[in-house]
C-alpha cells in the first residue's frame, strides 16, 4: 500500500508548530494533498443558478409571490387592499404564535399535538368569572401560565415518564379539551365589561396594524433569537439531530425536552390571549385542528419532522402561504372543501421539493 509511507514520514518530520493549546505534528505534503482531494469542493465555483439555490427559503418566497400574483389577477380589487392584508396577518397571528413553539418542539425531535386544545383550555381558564374579576392583566398571566403548565406536563411525561411524544400530547389534546368543556360547561365565555383591554389588542391599531400583529411579530423575533443566538437554541438542534451525541456531550437531554414542551405550551397561552382578543370570548371549541395547521406550516417551512434541522423563518413563510391560500379561496368565493384539497396538495409538493433539494445538497 502506497499510503502506508505517508504516516511514517509525517511522524518523523520534526515539525511541531506551537499554535494554540496543543502542538501537533504536521503531516507531510503528500498527506495534505490526499486529504484535500478526498473533500468534495474540487469542482470549482458553482455558477449563479447553483448559488441562487443556496438562498434560504427561496422556494417559499417564490411560492408566496406566485400566490400574490394569483390574487392580483383573480381578485384585483379586493386582494391588494390594506384591509385585506391586515386580515391576513390577523388571521395568521394566532396560529403563528403556536407555530413558533411547534418549530422548537419539532426541531428538538418531538411533536406537540395538544397545542389547539391547550390554547382552548387557556382561553377558558382566563375567562372564567373568577379570573375575570381580577382584571385583564391577571387574565393574561393566567392564560400564559395555564399554557406553560400544560406544556410542562407534556414535557415531564415525555422526558421522565418515557412516553412517546405523539401519545403524551395526544392524551393532553383530549384531556385539555375535556377540562375546558368542564370548566366552561360547554358555554362560550364572553370577555366581561371592564376587561376590554384584552379586546383592544385586536381593535387598537398602530401604524395601521392591530396590536396583536405586533405581539405575533414579537414572538417570531424572540423565537428566532432564542433558536439562533442562544445556547438553548443550539442545544435544541443538538437534541433533535442526535440525542445520543448530545447526551454524551454532557447536555441534559431530558431537562431540555421538558423546557421545549413548556415553551410550546407558553406559546399556546400567548395564542389564547390573541384569540380572546379577536373573538372576545374564551371557549372550549377554540383552536380546533390548529395542531395540524401548525405542524403543516412547520413542515412546509422545511423543518425535518425527524428533528435537528429547521428554521423559524421557514415556518412563518409556510404559515403565510397557508393563510394566503385561505384568503384567496374566500375572496374568490370558492368553497372550503376545495381549499382543504389544495392545502393537502401543497404539503405533499413542498415536502417532495425539499427532499430533492436536500439530496442535491449532500
Amino acid at each position: 500500500m502506497e499510503s502506508a509511507k505517508g504516516p511514517v514520514e509525517a511522524a518523523e518530520s520534526p515539525a511541531a508548530n506551537a499554535k494554540g493549546p496543543v502542538e501537533v505534528v504536521k503531516p507531510s505534503a503528500d498527506e495534505r494533498g490526499r486529504g484535500e482531494a478526498s473533500g468534495h469542493r474540487s469542482a470549482g465555483r458553482p455558477g449563479w443558478p447553483a448559488r441562487l439555490g443556496e438562498v434560504p427559503h427561496l422556494g417559499l418566497v417564490a411560492a408566496l409571490a406566485l400566490l400574490a400574483v394569483v390574487g392580483l389577477v383573480t381578485v384585483p380589487d379586493s386582494f391588494a387592499t390594506g384591509s385585506n392584508l391586515v386580515s391576513i396577518l390577523a388571521l395568521a397571528a394566532t396560529i403563528g404564535v403556536i407555530t413558533v413553539g411547534a418549530t422548537f418542539v419539532i426541531i428538538g425531535g418531538g411533536i406537540d399535538l395538544s397545542v389547539g386544545a391547550v390554547m382552548a383550555l387557556a382561553s377558558v381558564w382566563a375567562t372564567t368569572l373568577a379570573t375575570q374579576s381580577y382584571g385583564p392583566l391577571v387574565m393574561i398571566v393566567c392564560a400564559v401560565l395555564v399554557g406553560a403548565g400544560a406544556g410542562l406536563v407534556n414535557g415531564w411525561l415525555i422526558a421522565y415518564g418515557r412516553l412517546v411524544p405523539f401519545i403524551a400530547t395526544l392524551a393532553m389534546l383530549v384531556a385539555a379539551r375535556g377540562l375546558a368543556q368542564r370548566m366552561s360547561d360547554r358555554k362560550t365565555q364572553l370577555v366581561q365589561q371592564g376587561n376590554e383591554m384584552i379586546v383592544e389588542l385586536s381593535t387598537t391599531r398602530l401604524l395601521g396594524l392591530p396590536l396583536l400583529v405586533y405581539v405575533f411579530a414579537l414572538v417570531v423575533v424572540a423565537g428566532w433569537v432564542v433558536l439562533n443566538r442562544t445556547t438553548f437554541g443550539r442545544r435544541t438542534y443538538a437534541v433533535g439531530g442526535n440525542p445520543e451525541a448530545a447526551r454524551l456531550a454532557g447536555i441534559d437531554v431530558r431537562r431540555h425536552t421538558v423546557w421545549l414542551y413548556a415553551l410550546s405550551g407558553l406559546c399556546c397561552g400567548i395564542a389564547a390571549v390573541l384569540i380572546m382578543a379577536r373573538t372576545t370570548t374564551g371557549s372550549s371549541t377554540h383552536g380546533d385542528l390548529y395542531e395540524l395547521d401548525a405542524i403543516a406550516a412547520v413542515i412546509i417551512g422545511g423543518t425535518l419532522l425527524t428533528g435537528g434541522r429547521g428554521s423559524i423563518v421557514g415556518s412563518i413563510l409556510g404559515l403565510l402561504i397557508f393563510t394566503v391560500i385561505t384568503n384567496l379561496f374566500i375572496l374568490n368565493g370558492l368553497n372550503t372543501s376545495d381549499q382543504l384539497i389544495a392545502k393537502g396538495l401543497i404539503i405533499v409538493v413542498a415536502v417532495l421539493l425539499q427532499r430533492r433539494s436536500l439530496r442535491s445538497s449532500t
Binding site: A10, V22, G35, T231, G241, R247, L248
Partner: protein, 502 residues
C-alpha cells in the same frame, strides 16, 4: 462441476470508501461443503468483504465467480437468488413478527396475495426440525426468544432459500458454550449436505474446532489463502494477522512511569452479565489502554466510567465520585468521551464543524444564555488549524469530512474545554492509515499536557504502541496488567483469544 472445483471464487476485489480503501485486492476461494474461516483484525476488511458477498456493497474492481459462472451481486436479493445467505452479527430479525413470518419474510408462500400462513408454519417447522430445534414453535413471537433461539431462526431463514453458501459473521458472539456446540452440529450437518459456510470469528479455538481452511485478511488484502484450520500454528496465524510494521507511526513515550496525580480511580466496577470487579487507576499524563475482543466488556467499561451505564462499584474522578447513569455529571467532573460509533454517538452530521466542536462547551460562550458566536468561531478555527482538520473550513458540514477528520473534530470538542480525563473508544475506527498517525500524535500531546487518557481499541498494536500501561480484558475480567513496553502483540493476542494468561 467436479467435487473439488471451487463454489465461490473472488479475485482482486477492491472497494473504496471516502477516505478509506477498505478492500485493496482481496482473493477468496471457497469449496463446496467446507467451512472456510475468515480471519483478520478489526478494520482488516472482513465486514466489507461479507457485505460485498451479500450484495450490500458493490466492488469497484475484481471478479466474483459462483459455481463456475461469473456473477454480479447487485443487491441483497440478487445474492439470495444465487444461493448466498448471510447471517449478520447483529441479527436482523423483526421482533414483533412470529418465527415463521421472520423465516419467510420477503418470500412468503402466497396465493393471490394472501399469505399461506399454514404452509409457512409447516415449512418453518420442518426447517427448525432439520436444525435440531423442533421445540421452537413457528408461531412464537421472535421478541420472546433467547439469543440462541434467534440464531437458529436466522439460520432457518438462510435455509428457507435454496442456499449453497452461508456466511456467518461471529455467530458465536451471542451464545453460551453449550449453544455453540449445537451451532457446530448444525454447521456440520449443512456441510455434509454440500452447503459451504464462510465462518468469521475472533476465537481461534472455534476455528480449530469447526474450520477446514483459513483465509487471513490484513489491511484490506489477502495475506494467506487456504491454510489448514486444524494445524496451522497459532503463532503463524497471529503473525499473518499482525505482520504490519506499525511501531514507527506512534509518537515516542515519555520516559519513566507516570507520576502525575491520580485522575481516575475505579474500584470493583461491575455491570452484571457484562464485566465484573474491574479495578484500575489512571494518572494525569498517562495513557492506559484496554485490550480485548469485541464483546469482552471493554467498551462497556468505558461507558460505565462515563456514567452512561448503570453499574455497581466506585468510579472516582479526582476524589469525587461519579453518579451512576448520568453523563452530565461526568462532563462536569472533567471527563470527555470519544465514543465508538462516531456518527451515531458523537456527531451532529448535518451541522458545521464549528458547532460540533463547541457542543460540549456552549456554557463558555454564553452570557445569560446568549451565545458569543464570534468567540466560538475564533476558537473553532484555531482548533481546526492546530489539529489540521482538512479541509480547513470550520463552516463545512461535518458529514462531508473523512473519518479521520471527523474524529479530530470530536477530539477538538474535548480539547476546547480542558478535560482532565479523556475516554477514547476505538479512536481510529474507519480512519485510514495516514490519518491515524496524526490522531496518535494528538492523543500523545494531550497526555503530555497532563490529561489522563483511557483508550480502548480492538487493534492490539494500537494499544501497545500508544498506551503507557495496558490492561488485558477477556470475558469481562481484567486478566493481565503490565507496562506496554513489557508486552508484545503475540502475547496479548494469545491472551485475549485463547485466554492463556502468560
Amino acid at each position: 462441476m467436479s467435487e473439488n472445483s471451487p463454489l465461490l471464487l473472488m479475485k482482486g476485489i477492491v472497494k473504496q470508501f471516502p477516505g478509506v480503501r477498505a478492500l485493496d485486492g482481496v482473493d477468496l476461494e471457497v469449496l463446496p461443503g467446507e467451512v472456510h474461516c475468515l480471519l483478520g483484525q478489526n478494520g482488516a476488511g472482513k465486514s466489507t468483504l461479507i457485505k460485498t458477498l451479500a450484495g450490500a456493497h458493490q466492488p469497484d474492481e475484481g471478479t466474483i465467480t459462483l459455481g463456475g459462472e461469473p456473477v454480479r451481486l447487485s443487491s441483497p436479493i440478487a445474492a439470495i437468488r444465487l444461493g448466498i445467505s448471510t447471517i449478520y452479527q447483529e441479527l436482523d430479525l423483526v421482533e414483533g413478527l412470529s418465527v415463521a413470518e421472520n423465516v419467510f419474510l420477503g418470500h412468503e408462500p402466497a396465493r393471490l396475495g394472501f399469505v399461506g400462513q399454514g404452509e409457512a408454519n409447516r415449512a418453518t417447522r420442518a426447517l427448525l426440525a432439520r436444525l435440531g430445534h423442533g421445540e421452537i414453535r413457528p408461531t412464537t413471537q421472535v421478541g420472546r426468544l433467547s439469543p440462541a433461539a434467534r440464531q437458529v431462526v436466522s439460520m432457518a431463514r438462510a435455509l428457507s432459500h435454496d442456499t449453497r453458501l452461508i456466511i456467518m459473521d461471529e455467530p458465536s458472539a451471542a451464545l453460551a458454550h453449550d449453544e455453540v456446540d449445537n451451532l457446530f452440529r448444525i454447521i456440520r450437518e449443512l456441510t455434509a449436505q454440500g452447503v459451504a459456510v464462510v465462518y468469521i470469528s475472533h476465537r481461534l479455538e472455534e476455528i480449530r474446532q469447526i474450520g477446514d481452511r483459513v483465509t487471513v485478511l490484513k489491511d484490506g488484502r489477502t495475506v494467506a489463502v487456504g491454510l489448514p484450520a486444524k494445524d496451522t500454528p497459532t503463532r503463524q496465524i497471529v503473525s499473518l494477522m499482525t505482520g504490519r510494521n506499525v511501531e514507527h507511526v506512534f509518537p515516542p513515550r515519555r520516559d519513566g512511569p507516570a507520576t502525575g496525580e491520580e485522575v481516575l480511580r475505579v474500584e470493583g466496577l461491575t455491570v452484571p452479565g457484562v464485566f465484573a470487579d474491574v479495578s484500575f487507576a489512571v494518572r494525569a499524563g498517562e495513557i492506559v489502554g484496554l485490550a480485548g475482543l469485541v464483546g469482552s466488556g471493554r467498551s462497556e467499561i468505558i461507558e460505565a466510567v462515563y456514567g452512561a451505564r448503570r453499574f455497581s462499584g466506585r468510579v472516582v474522578v479526582e476524589g469525587r465520585p461519579v453518579r451512576r447513569g448520568g453523563t452530565t455529571g461526568a462532563v462536569r467532573l472533567g471527563m470527555g468521551l470519544a465514543p465508538e460509533e462516531r456518527k451515531a454517538q458523537a456527531l451532529l452530521l448535518d451541522q458545521s464543524v464549528t458547532r460540533n466542536i463547541s457542543l460540549a462547551s456552549l456554557g463558555r460562550y454564553s452570557r445569560f444564555g446568549w451565545l458569543d458566536r464570534r468567540r466560538e468561531a475564533e476558537d473553532a478555527r484555531a482548533l481546526v488549524e492546530t489539529l489540521d482538520i482538512r479541509p480547513p473550513d470550520p463552516d463545512r458540514p461535518v458529514k462531508t469530512l473523512s473519518g479521520g477528520n471527523q474524529q479530530k473534530a470530536v477530539l477538538a470538542r474535548w480539547l476546547l474545554n480542558g478535560r482532565k480525563l479523556l475516554l477514547l473508544d476505538e479512536p481510529t475506527r474507519g480512519v485510514d492509515v495516514g490519518a491515524r498517525a496524526e490522531l496518535y500524535a494528538v492523543i500523545r500531546e494531550l497526555a503530555e499536557k497532563g490529561v489522563g487518557v483511557l483508550l480502548v481499541s480492538s487493534e492490539v498494536p494500537e494499544v501497545l504502541g500508544l498506551a503507557d500501561r495496558v490492561l488485558v480484558i477477556r470475558e469481562g475480567t481484567i486478566i493481565h496488567q503490565a507496562d506496554a513496553g513489557d508486552l508484545d502483540e503475540h502475547r496479548v493476542l494469545d491472551m485475549i483469544m485463547e485466554g492463556s494468561a502468560l
